[in-house]
């Protein structure tokens, strides 16, 4: 008998602009002791489903329009809020995606972990709660739990925080754990450890888990059974094997296909749209027979970085932080160098130092045989338009108060690429068309676009000044796979048509493998391995590289 049985759940959002059917007639069940993966892209309604179960949606605008979820003799969807509170955190716990923002920054770890127990077990003394909290923190793998429990969340790393979240969720020994994208924001190696921990805890504590994620690799790694959601509906349900080996729904097929893996060799990715449009055979461009030339003589480097060092002094404790420590790189013209490493390894700082956005402590950055580090602010101006950057968060990197036309025409005017009003406008329109948008978007603001469109806009802005070199800083990391595929295809196209050179910074090894000609692996400010992409992935030399590759979910 399933421990949780969701029947015909309907959750709609009523806003001024209309009604969104976020969850539309969804039914599935969770068996005792299993890990059920819910897969879907953002907006598919997978998170809203879970929030509906716990009554965590703000009402209005959300409204549960129908369905029932019997649990322990009550209907979870229509239960008195006070009783629901007793279930929440006691019988059903939840962990969230971003452990950074989901832990209260103002309270100590211990207080937060103790809190559910104090709230739900009226008889428990503070001392008991403390003991249990420490025990649980130990169980999730926090060393020196007694001491570290008195720290604040910001003193923990991301992985540690997620462990704290798990400890907090399990401290009351719940029957069900809802895990909403718990590993998405983590590095691959950390992600692997957390997934392992979850599996262990499931058996140890006998808890059933609903695991929500957009990452098919993760699901393959952790789940027993999978539910795939698309636009508020369940499109497919089955065991992991069934879903991965014999997907039935075109959406699921597309989802599986558009994800770059180590095995992908094509230059372009199929997109989900192709599948939804009913194309049965997916035509992707064959890889160019370029490998020969590559191996013979790598073309002239466009960018050469020599012994780059960036050091910071922390303002409070005056500690020297070597963010980038003696890095040397060569990026051939028209090629892509992938820079991989875990968060905090200095890959982002390297990218910014190349663009002179961060002042280098020492070392040189040559572009066309000019050392950019030596140039004065004014002298740098002509190079600014040759070197551009695309950031991870396309929303944060667009000025929210500028229309697209303003945002795109500003660099064009500023660098005097076009002078006339009409001329500028034509150029903006052609840029938009180039990235797959159209002239009707000119007057919109960034927030009116979806994530993928926004990233296209960022690409368009970078292209506006006709650069030769673009740093792509985690530029697809926050995206769903289907959109990721579109953006990656766009970058590819542009590289071919404009002969662009990329520095592709990412923590996602599959994506890097897909886009890069060369790969450099970074750890703690240093490059540990650097070679052609094929060589690095097939034949890693360093232990660290091997560890990274092994941790990639779904590739083991």
């Amino acid at each position: 008998m399933p421990i949780l049985d969701i029947q015909n759940l309907k959750t709609y959002f009523h806003t001024r602009t209309g009604t969104t059917k976020a969850v539309d007639d969804v039914s599935f069940s969770l068996e005792k002791g299993e890990i059920l993966g819910i897969v879907g892209e953002s907006g598919s309604g997978k998170s809203v489903t879970c929030y509906s179960l716990l009554g965590l949606l703000p009402q209005p605008p959300a409204k549960i329009e129908g369905g029932c979820v019997p649990f322990d003799g009550e209907d979870l969807l229509h239960v008195d809020p006070a009783i629901q509170r007793k279930i929440r955190g006691k019988r059903i716990s939840m962990i969230f995606q971003d452990p950074m923002s989901c832990l209260n920054p103002y309270l100590r770890i211990l207080d937060q972990v103790m809190e559910p127990m104090l709230a739900h077990e009226p008889g428990a003394t503070k001392e008991q709660a403390r003991e249990r909290a420490i025990e649980m923190l130990k169980k999730v793998g926090i060393a020196d739990a007694e001491e570290r429990a008195h720290s604040f969340p910001h003193e923990f790393s991301g992985g540690m925080r997620q462990r704290v979240m798990i400890a907090m969720a399990l401290v009351t020994h719940p029957d069900i754990l809802l895990a909403d994208e718990p590993t998405t924001a983590l590095d691959v190696t950390v992600q692997a450890r957390i997934l392992r921990l979850l599996k262990e805890l499931r058996t140890e504590l006998d808890v059933s888990v609903i695991f929500i994620t957009h990452d098919l690799g993760v699901v393959a790694e952790v789940a027993d059974r999978v539910v795939v959601m698309y636009r508020g509906k369940v499109v497919e349900e089955g065991t992991v094997r069934e879903i991965f080996d014999t997907p039935k729904h075109p959406y699921v097929k597309g989802l599986l296909a558009c994800r770059p893996t180590f095995q992908t060799t094509s230059r372009m990715l199929p997109t989900v749209e192709d599948f939804l449009e009913g194309k049965t055979t997916i035509e992707v461009q064959e890889p160019k027979p370029a490998e020969d030339t590559q191996e013979e003589a790598p073309p002239e480097p466009l960018i050469e970085v020599k012994n780059l060092k960036v050091h910071f002094t922390q303002s409070k404790d005056h500690q020297l932080i070597k963010a980038v420590d003696d890095v040397s790189l060569k990026i051939p013209k028209g090629k892509t160098l992938g820079l991989v490493g875990e968060s905090g390894c200095g890959k982002t700082t390297t990218g910014r130092a190349i663009l002179q956005l961060v002042k280098a402590t020492s070392g040189q950055v040559f572009y066309d045989n000019h050392d950019l580090c030596q140039l004065h602010r004014d002298q740098l101006l002509p190079y600014r338009k040759k070197l551009q950057i695309i950031f991870q968060d396309p929303y944060a990197s667009l000025n929210p108060r500028m229309t697209i036309e303003q945002a795109l025409s500003e660099p064009i005017r500023f660098h005097q690429i076009c002078t006339g009003r009409a001329e500028t406008r034509d150029r903006v329109v052609s840029l938009l068309e180039e990235v797959g948008l159209s002239a009707e978007h000119l007057r919109r603001y960034p927030h009116e676009f979806s994530g993928g469109q926004r990233q296209r806009l960022c690409v368009a802005r970078a292209l506006a000044v006709e650069p030769e070199f673009i740093v792509c800083d985690e530029c697809v990391s926050a995206m769903d796979v289907s959109i990721q595929a579109q953006v990656l295809n766009l970058l590819r196209n542009l590289q071919d048509s404009h002969n662009l050179t990329y520095l592709f910074i990412s923590h996602d090894l599959s994506v890097v493998k897909f886009v890069s000609d060369y790969v450099a692996v970074m750890k703690a400010g240093k490059i540990v391995e650097q070679n052609t992409a094929e060589d690095v992935y097939r034949n890693p030399h360093q232990d660290y590289t091997k560890e990274l590759l092994a941790a990639v979910p779904g590739e083991g």
Binding site: L56, R85, I87, R88, F96, C102, E115, H154
Partner: protein, 309 residues
């Protein structure tokens, strides 16, 4: 931490010195002098008076003499209008202002913050609009209207409340309320927006997911962060409250410090003016520092570095 305080202390000294310079020359630029009187005071007497207060000396000499005497002898000069050492005047009136200011702060915090929280909970309802309208009244209606109204409507009808005067413990109620009202209004607005900001954060969802009651969520999880803007406001505001208010002191006959700012300026009482201005500057510096430290206490992230990650 110690280094931070030390740094700010040094900056504070520079601020005080700059403040002294400006106040000194402004005081000199005012028309008239301490001995300007409608009485028939002869030029001869005035010269003797100037000699008495050292005002006959050259401007640079006077400029350096004051800080020299303050630093070496702790001598802040004698007030020409009150005939007492400035140090004694401040020592006499500051404790009164402190009590009044603390009372005002009590009212401000006791009224402003609960109202702000309530408005935040009932965001965009009539409760919210009503409370914010009430706050607006607090900001709009000046002390010289509220004070007399309280005297006429409250003090005149409550036997144990006096219209004005200072001495019995209940005397601080009306002036403190009058003084604190504006701050209460500001605090209500700041608390409201601060809490709303925090309530939209992810960790509030976590707290709900734990099954905590709404009260606990508000009090334990959102109040601390939601109060940060209020704390930043309270630093300088508290300095202003405890350094007194001319209007409130005049209406309620409170022997506080605020009246000296006005009286010293009007009677060209240079030393008293310098004394109270420097004291106020000192309070501002200390309170700003204090509010920065308190922000650190409330927000552990600020203590360590700028941001956690």
């Amino acid at each position: 931490m110690i280094r931070f305080i030390f740094n700010r202390f040094l900056q504070g000294l520079l601020v005080l010195f700059a403040l002294y310079t400006i106040t000194f020359f402004l005081a000199k630029a005012m028309p008239g002098e301490p001995f300007t009187s409608e009485k028939n005071v002869s030029e001869f007497t005035k010269q003797n008076l100037r000699k008495l207060y050292g005002l006959d000396k050259s401007l640079p000499e006077q400029y350096f003499r004051y800080p020299y005497r303050v630093l070496t002898q702790g001598d802040f000069g004698v007030s020409s209008s009150k005939g007492k050492p400035v140090r004694d005047i401040i020592a006499n009136s500051f404790p009164v202002s402190l009590v009044l200011g603390l009372g005002a702060l009590g009212f401000a915090v006791g009224i402003g913050i609960p109202l702000g929280i309530l408005a935040a909970i009932r965001k965009n309802t009539w409760v919210d609009w009503g409370l914010m309208g009430f706050a607006m009244i607090g900001i709009c209606v000046p002390a010289f209207t509220i004070g007399p109204l309280l005297q006429i409507l409250v003090a005149a009808n409550v036997p144990w409340l006096k219209v004005a005067g200072w001495g019995s413990p209940q005397d601080f109620l009306l002036p403190a309320f009058t003084l604190g009202l504006v701050s209460a209004a500001y605090l209500a607005r700041l608390t409201r927006s601060g809490i709303l900001e925090i309530l939209s954060q992810d960790f509030i969802r976590t707290a709900h997911a734990k099954g905590l009651s709404p009260t606990t969520v508000i009090l334990k999880h959102s109040l601390r962060g939601g109060l940060l803007p209020s704390v930043a406001y309270l630093g300088p505001a508290f300095a202003a409250l405890i350094s007194g208010s001319f209007i409130v002191e005049s209406i309620f006959l409170v022997p506080g410090m605020g009246q000296h700012f006005v009286n010293a300026a009007v009677s060209r009482d240079e030393f008293l003016l310098l004394g109270v201005s420097m004291f106020f500057g000192f309070l501002i510096i200390v309170m700003n520092l204090f509010s920065d430290i308190l922000t650190g206490v409330l927000d552990p992230r600020v203590r360590m570095g700028k941001e956690g990650a």
